[in-house]
Amino acid sequence: MSAYEAVIGLEIHAELKTSSKMFCACDASFGGEPNSRTCPVCLGLPGVLPVLNRQAVVLATRLALALNCEIAPHSIFHRKNYFYPDMPKNFQISQYDLPLGVGGHLEVEADGESFRVGITRVHLEEDTGKTVHVSESGRIHGSEYSLEDFNRAGVPLLEIVTEPDIRTPEQARAFMQELKSIMEHLEVSDCRMEEGSLRCDANISLRPAGSTKLGVKTEVKNMNSFRALQRALAYEIERQEGVLESGGEVNQETRHWDADANVTTPLRTKEYAYDYRYFPEPDLVPLELDREFIASVEATLPELPAQRRRRLREDYGLPAHDAVILTSSKAMGDFYEAAVAAGADPKAASNWMMGELSAYLNAKGMEIEEVPVSPAQLAGMIKLVEKGTISGKIAKSVFEEMLESGRSAEEIVAERGLTQISDEGELDAVVGEVIKENASVVEDFRKGKEKAVSFLVGQVMRKTQGRANPQLVNDLLLRKLRGGD
C-alpha cells in the first residue's frame, strides 16, 4: 500500500456524429482533401454569422441525460480567445459559466468493484483544424513553418469534465471505456481515438493517504488510447511520488505524454500560458431547452450499457464479468446478441468472444466490425461442436481460419476433413495400436495407476490429428484395458 493516494479528474472531448458542422452546413465527416470542407463561416471570413446545429444540441442533451446531468434551462455560448493558427477566427466558440448540462454522475465497475464518478459539466463547442508541422521530426519545435487543414474546424465537439473522483489509472481506464460504450450506444459519437474523435486529458495530484486536502496537480495531455491513459497516469503517480518523497514540491504544469519514451515531459509553460478572455458570443442567442424538448430526447434514449449488462445476466445467465466484456463496446454487444439469436449457446458464444475472438482482435489491433466472420457463422461453428461433429480443440483451429478467411465452419470442416471420428470401428484399430506401442504405460495402468489412461488418450488423439472423439477414446481404452484383450 502506497503512502499516497492519487486524485484524478478527466476532461474528455468527443466529436459529435452529425452530418454538418456545428455552426455551418459544411460536411462534418472524417477525411477529405485538405480544406475541401470549408465555407466562409468556418474559415472566419468577415461578415458571416454562425447558426447552431439542432442535431448537435439533441446529441449533447442525449449524453447529458445518460450521465444523469441536469439540463440547464438557460445556457449560452462564449468566445474563448487565443492565437493559434488551428482556429481561423482566433477564437473558439465554447460554453463557459452556463454549460448545457451540470451535476451528473456515472457508476462504473473496475475489478469487480463499483465506484461513482461525478460529472461536473457537459458542454458544446467546436473542434479546431489540423496542423501539420513541417520539419524532419514533425514536431512543432524547430519546424520551419506549419500547414493548416480546416476540414475539422467547426465540427461539433462535446466536452465532458469529471469531478476528481478517480483514484487509480485502472479506474480512469474503466471510466473511459464505460463512457465510450455509452456514447456508442447513444450513437452520439464514433469514439475513434485514433482518428481523434475521442480524446482525453487528465488532472492528477497526490496526497498522503487518508488526507482530504488536495495536492498540487499536473495536467497530462496527448493520451491517444486507453492503454496510453493508464500508462501515463501510472507514470505520473510514480513521478510525483518521487518528487514528494525527496522532499520536493510538484510544479503545477501541463505535461505531454510521450508514448514512445513512456514518460511525461513538461510543456514550456510560457508558450502555453493562456488568458482566454471569455466573453458571451454576440452572434448566437441563448439556448433555453424546455421540458418538452428534454422529454422528447429522453423518450428516444436507447438501452445503455449498464441496462444491457443487467439484461445479459438475467436473460442468458451470464456471469457479471462476461456481461462487462460483452458491453465494452456497442458492436461487441450487438455481435454477441446476433450470435445467440442465430442459435448459439449463450455461454459458449460468450466464451468464444471473450477468448479466441478478443485475443485475435488484440493481436491484430482490429475492431470487431472489421473481422469477416458474421455472428451467424460463430453460431454455426458452436453448433458443430455441440453436435459432436468437431472437437473443441479442432474448433479452435477452424475458428482461426474463419477469422482469416470469413468462410463458414461447415465449409472449412468439410474441405479439410476435420469431422470428429465418433465411429468405434474406425477408432478401434488406432486404440489397439496405441496399446501395443505403450506396453509399459499399459502395465502401469494395470498395476492401479488409473491416470495412465489419459496419456494413452493423448496418443490416440495425436494419431488422429485431434479428430477422435476423446470421450469415446477414453471409453474404448478402459474397456480394452479392463477386458484384458
Binding site: 452546413a25 485538405p34 447558426v51 508558450e271 448566437l284
Partner: protein, 93 residues
C-alpha cells in the same frame, strides 16, 4: 486603476505592437472607460439576469443538413501562401 503594464499585457495578448506614445494614450483612454464601468457597477443589478444578447431571441437553430461550401481552390484563394491544399502559416514557436 489601469496601469501601463496592463495595457502592454493586453496588447501582447492581441499581438499588437504599440509605441510608447500609444501605450500612454491607451492607458489614459482605457482608464476613462473603466471609470465609467465602475460607475455603472454601483447600480443594484442583483435582480437582473445578465444580458448575453440584445435581442429577445432564443433557440435559433438550423437543421443538420450538408450544403456545398467552398472548393479547396476557393478556400485558398486569399491565402498569402498555400502548399498541397494546405494554408501555410509562419513558424508557431
Amino acid at each position: 486603476m489601469i496601469e501601463k503594464k496592463d495595457v502592454e499585457y493586453v496588447a501582447w495578448l492581441a499581438r499588437l505592437e504599440l509605441s510608447e506614445e500609444e501605450i500612454e494614450r491607451f492607458t489614459r483612454q482605457l482608464g476613462q472607460v473603466l471609470e465609467h464601468a465602475e460607475k455603472i457597477k454601483s447600480l443594484d443589478t442583483s435582480e437582473i439576469r445578465p444580458t448575453s444578447h440584445p435581442l429577445p431571441l432564443k433557440n435559433v437553430m438550423r437543421e443538420d443538413l450538408v450544403k456545398p461550401g467552398l472548393t479547396q481552390e476557393e478556400a485558398l484563394s486569399n491565402a498569402p501562401r498555400a502548399e498541397g491544399g494546405y494554408f501555410v502559416v509562419p513558424r508557431i514557436i
